[in-house]
Symmetry: C2
Subunit: 310 residues, 2 copies
């Protein structure tokens, strides 16, 4: 009988499931409904079970030897405990292990080796996996309390700078035209109604990033100051994690929408080199592979193939 | 038959109605349900009508010659037009006129004379009434887009500074203990759940202001920097309005919870003197009196008594 191992990356956008055979070959990959802890552990458990069942059906199997599950928003022990209670036993799964999305991200990014991952999309957070197996995190306090340097943070700073320029409290900036065009409004007076009734949400504000980056590159001082501040904040997250690492050669992988922008990636690369002498790399594997590694490790399974295959 | 004039200050906390006789004597004052435009113009109209009816019953009258109404959150023309449509005719009122809360605040604060009002509580905004009758406003973009220097802004900066100190990204500060005690939490890890499920709202965060002010006064550099930044932002709002005034001797009145704190008031007074050479004064009359003045002016009624009585 073929041995099957699996991983689940349960996130706010989708729940991804990957099933591999014992040699590391993909049997089936499936993407199901989102399953963030914040939306409720019962809903999350339902989405995880449905995604797993669909993947197993797709692969034509009825048994998984071991499964690793990483869940967004379940970073602390009480949340993991509650989530385990909601998940209960998983039908057809011999052994499974649950952790948060940070751990599977860092395990995937560095193929199980100690390392650092900086994730910067709408939000921002850095994780480190130490050689002794413990995790470190810095940042990621959400849109109100933190997420400094994130896409939402950059977009909001741009909108605020435009308002301040308009009202005479801030420097004039080319962002004024660019931001209004980007948000599809004729005048800033339309802004409060849009923002406070949530029809202009975090994603739409984060979508201003390419505009801000380009305006900065074109020489606008206000936009340049925002991008400088953002890369400073992101490099600081990495530095704080690096301080607590026990593996000096740990690599820094970067992931998330911000780094898809070449100008932003270049600015961050320069800042990180100044701050810590590191060079950012792309993750070796996605978090769902990290989930497989996590499940394997928790079960004492070596999974050597994952350290060999690139 | 006795002539009665009235004013309504319809705000997010309560709707206040004041009825005066033609000589300026108070007949009845009544406080009813809140009536912010943002909660819906129909609800606001209902609260305004109920408050007026209760005040008229209390005064034992069935007719008001003229009524001024100031409504929170109705600062722009389309909102005022929509609100007028919802209000329709007011039973027992011969003439009424509607404006926003800023105009009645400044009319009350300076007894109808040109002047500036800075309001800083949970939010922050400055208004100016020019001699030519036009209004100027600066700030007041709400908790996400603006409200710089407000109570919420100060409280949030304090919470963010505590998180950054905890994570090694910011300077150590005495605020760490003070803020946790102020919010009634043992550990910062409890914070995201409280903030993002809204059980810890803007008011609770703004309630940290006395703690931050006292910590600053006790010599904590992080707290002092937050208070310095706040008084700078508030003075900037005043300066921007003063720039556009056509009445050089216009006084600056300050109102709102922040100025009830003597240490904060002292810091702001010093900053405003440096910034614009002005000395802040307390409002001469509350906004509901400004509403009476507004109603009278719109009806061509001189109301000389309000300019005589202190």
């Amino acid at each position: 009988m073929m041995m099957v191992v699996g991983g689940i990356d349960a996130g706010g956008t989708a729940t991804k499931c990957l099933l591999l055979d014992g040699a590391g070959n993909t049997l089936f990959a499936h993407q199901g409904q989102p399953a963030n802890y914040q939306v409720g552990p019962d809903e999350a458990a339902k989405a995880i079970k449905a995604t797993l069942a669909a993947a197993m059906a797709g692969a034509g199997i009825d048994r998984v030897e071991l499964l690793g599950v990483g869940l967004a928003g379940a970073g602390r022990k009480p949340e993991l405990e509650r989530m385990k209670a909601c998940l209960g036993t998983l039908e057809g799964v011999n052994r499974y292990a649950l952790t948060d999305d940070g751990e599977i991200a860092v395990l995937g990014a560095h193929r199980g080796q100690p390392g650092v991952v900086l994730i910067a999309g709408t939000g921002s957070i850095a994780y480190g996996l130490r050689q002794d197996g413990t995790m470190i995190r810095n940042g990621g306090w959400g849109a109100i309390l933190g997420d400094e340097g994130s896409g939402y943070w950059i977009g909001l700073k741009a909108v605020q700078a435009v308002i301040r320029a308009e009202e005479g409290r801030g420097q004039q900036t080319v962002l004024s035209t660019a931001v209004c065009r980007g948000l599809g409004i004729d005048s800033l007076t339309a802004l409060p109604a849009l923002v406070y009734n949530s029809s202009l949400g975090r994603k739409e504000i984060a979508a201003l990033v390419p505009t801000v980056v380009q305006t900065a590159a074109d020489g606008d001082l206000v936009a340049a100051a925002i991008i400088d501040a953002a890369v400073h904040e992101l490099a600081l997250l990495v530095e704080m994690v690096q301080k607590l690492m026990d593996f000096p050669r740990a690599k820094v992988a970067v992931s998330g929408g911000l780094f898809a922008n070449p100008l932003f990636m270049a600015a961050f690369t320069e800042r990180l080199a100044e701050a810590s002498g590191s060079t950012p790399v792309k993750p070796s594997h996605p978090p769902v592979v990290g989930a497989v590694i996590y499940g394997a490790r928790q079960s004492g399974w070596p999974l050597p193939f994952l350290e060999l295959k690139q």
